[in-house]
Symmetry: C2
Subunit: 409 residues, 2 copies
DNA sequence: GCACTTAATTCGCGTCGCGTTGTAATTGCG
DNA sequence: CGCAATTACAACGCGACGCGAATTAAGTGC
């Protein structure tokens, strides 16, 4: 455990203040004090230091206290957008999405490269990422050395600390250090994160999880991702591993075990319909599910059934998550949601049927259709979160290793 | 978030020191300093305060530095066993287990009441618990007013803060406040906790999780319990709800959905063999699984298959937990383990088959056959942990409520 | 008996958060 | 226009904390 000293105390409160300014935008010192339950004195001291460091700036307008604004007007504080810039990226099998954001997470430039990186060698992917980053940074009118951090997100199992990709649908080889490959090319601090964790941060900072420090997020795309926010922090497993949902086995019999990803991933839904070249092309373009929806509406019964089956499996999986994590909220995101009610109807039914009675009112299910850019922005948020100096140190080297063994008493 | 002030800082370090003394027994101030990474000064100050409060005591022996012990001898510090006493209890369907422990968790007296409380009204159960507590306290040579806290553990979904039992195989009625019922009778601080959380704490304090601040525990008894330790703290869900494993749905099709508890609970294994009165009696006595093992060895093929099926389902469920939580360790406990390899063989096979390759070496699986008393002791440990003044406040009122709803963008 | 070694305490310093006091910047009203 | 009222913020002093250095305590070895 981290030992508590005055330095940590200050780090915590400083982060708390900075985070409050981020969340509530232009905000006065008094209000920060109210929200953080810190004294005006302390807030003044911390904000002075933040101003000194150039992380925030003052604005002498926007004081919107109701009615007669008597007394000395409040000085509003905002993040200094120019305090830092980061690049966030989403690496998916058929596209790369980049965005450059400023210190408060505003997108300065974004770029989508519709390239199929699926199963390419790591070095090639890294080259593509390098190009994308360079170009997106240029689009934002910046130079590479003005970028503090690059955060990459991709599906799979990622070791956050080391930036190692344990496995990913995108990479042929397991256990590649994407972080190293990028640092070698760009010489910028690089974070590698699971895409589910990235979109989890995005929902927490910009989306449907803004008001909530504890929720579970299910990302339904080509892969099925899981992000867990606990106490405002991403939940990480051993060695800071990211979590996965697609590997959840649906079935009790090992002989007939079937993974959720084989039921509810986009490929699973499309299986059997590969022949249709319109769908194939649409998938290449990342529009697969919208296209599938169209086909269902035109009467493709096979796809309709596949979508419903995926929804059922997801509904059950989500009920399982509620039983296992008891989260106050579950947020659903991902391109597969484009199927709309063809997916969601059966999802709702299956969830309602699967959720045990006493857990019925525990979790609020929220469905959020988000843009690709938000995923990249989420990766940027991960990077910014660390720049803000989160005092709990989510970063760091992997911890002691453990080997599997069946040891008995 | 909790705001950081000097008081919190001191609370954290004080807890850290106290916890170190608990974990390592007789320990000198120097060593505490090394382990906590606190300065000798700070350790001295904190230990002085702990001595002053009577929580620890000194011992001028046991300095076992290797070889020539030169210099001023170390004064060893230990918990003061008499600083507090608590009662821990395990409430199971066919027995009540109580233990009185001192401040360091040593069992002063224990008591097993082989009564079937299954489906009895709450008030009756509370009466039985009252009797058990009173008698066990008397057995320990203590008076009731010397007991600081009573901690009850039982299977089901428990709201830790309020002491409300949302649902339990034991209670007929849902949503009963067991805490209130007990406080009314004993007028002692009462904690109600899921039995899985209790045994999780027991493993962390006394068992196979001593060296580990992060692990997942699966309790396989009549009910299937789940405990998650994260950063040395019990993971709690919304409203401080306990987690459940038995409600995990094994299957992708809502029509054929089957809960893990219907495959791997003791009742599920015994199903179809109810006719055998020897088994029925054995179950009454809480020896069900040992008896079942005997029957299997005598050639009961039906039971052998049921056990294997349960093992398979559990192996899959555990693989799912590893994917979802990525814990460095999974500890298996519970009376069903008495089936031995009739359960574990298929469990191992199913786990190995279900666990995705990249997660193979993440979690160490540990099987621990524990006594009933340890469960009760775990409940006591939950109580003691709060007495130690864990600064993160696991106790407290339930937080804001949330209703289920499907809201979309 | 004296040097040596190590443990534990004491002392002084710097930092933190907080309450109080003082100052700055505005409105309201005569 | 001027002055009181009001409100935001900064400055000062207090007490608590943790830490490093110096000091005291309590042994061993010769």
């Amino acid at each position: 455990m981290k030992t508590a000293d005055p330095e940590l105390m200050r780090a915590i409160n400083r982060f708390h203040v900075l985070d409050t300014i981020r969340r509530f935008g232009a905000i006065s010192r008094v209000e920060i004090g109210e929200r953080t339950v810190l004294s005006a004195t302390t807030v003044s001291a911390i904000t002075a230091s933040l101003l000194d460091d150039g992380l925030i700036s003052t604005r002498h307008e926007g004081d919107l206290r109701g009615g007669g604004a008597r007394g000395r007007p409040r000085v509003m504080l905002t993040l200094n957008p120019e305090a830092a810039r980061v690049v966030g990226a989403k690496i998916a099998s058929n596209r790369l999405v980049f965005c450059v954001t400023n210190f408060q997470g505003d997108v300065l430039a974004s770029l989508t490269l519709p390239v199929r990186v699926d199963r390419l060698p790591v070095e090639v992917i890294a080259d593509l990422v390098e190009d994308g980053v360079r170009r997106c940074v240029m689009d934002a009118g910046l130079a590479l050395n003005e970028i503090k951090t690059v955060a990459l997100s991709l599906p799979g199992i990622i070791e956050h600390g080391t930036g190692r990709v344990r496995s990913s649908a995108i990479f042929r080889d397991p256990n590649v250090s994407l972080k190293e490959a990028i640092v070698k090319r760009l010489d910028i601090d690089t974070i590698v994160e699971s895409d589910a964790n990235a979109i989890t941060m995005a929902e927490h900072w910009f989306g449907r999880g803004r008001d909530c420090d504890d929720f579970v997020l299910v990302a339904i795309e080509e892969s099925l991702g899981l992000g867990v926010l606990h106490g405002g922090q991403l939940f990480r497993g051993a060695r800071e591993l990211s979590l996965t949902l697609g590997d959840m086995i649906m079935g009790s019999d090992p002989e007939h075990a079937i993974k959720l990803s084989e039921l509810a991933s986009e490929r699973a839904i499309l299986d059997g319909d590969h022949g249709d070249s319109r769908v194939r092309d649409a998938i290449r373009l990342g529009q697969g599910m919208g296209r599938v929806r169209g086909l269902i509406e035109e009467g493709d019964n096979e796809l309709r059934i596949a979508a419903a089956r995926a929804g059922s499996a997801l509904g059950i999986a989500i009920a399982n998550l509620v039983a296992l994590f008891a989260p106050p909220r579950v947020i659903l995101v991902g391109s597969t949601l484009a199927l709309g009610d063809y997916l969601l109807d059966s999802l709702r039914v299956a969830f309602a049927k699967a959720i045990p009675d006493p857990l019925k009112n525990v979790a609020q299910i929220v469905i959020d259709e988000v843009s690709d850019e938000l995923w990249a922005r989420g990766a940027a948020a991960v990077a910014l979160g660390e720049l803000y100096g989160s005092p709990w140190g989510t970063t760091g080297p992997a911890r002691r290793s453990t080997a599997i063994e069946f040891s008995e008493k």
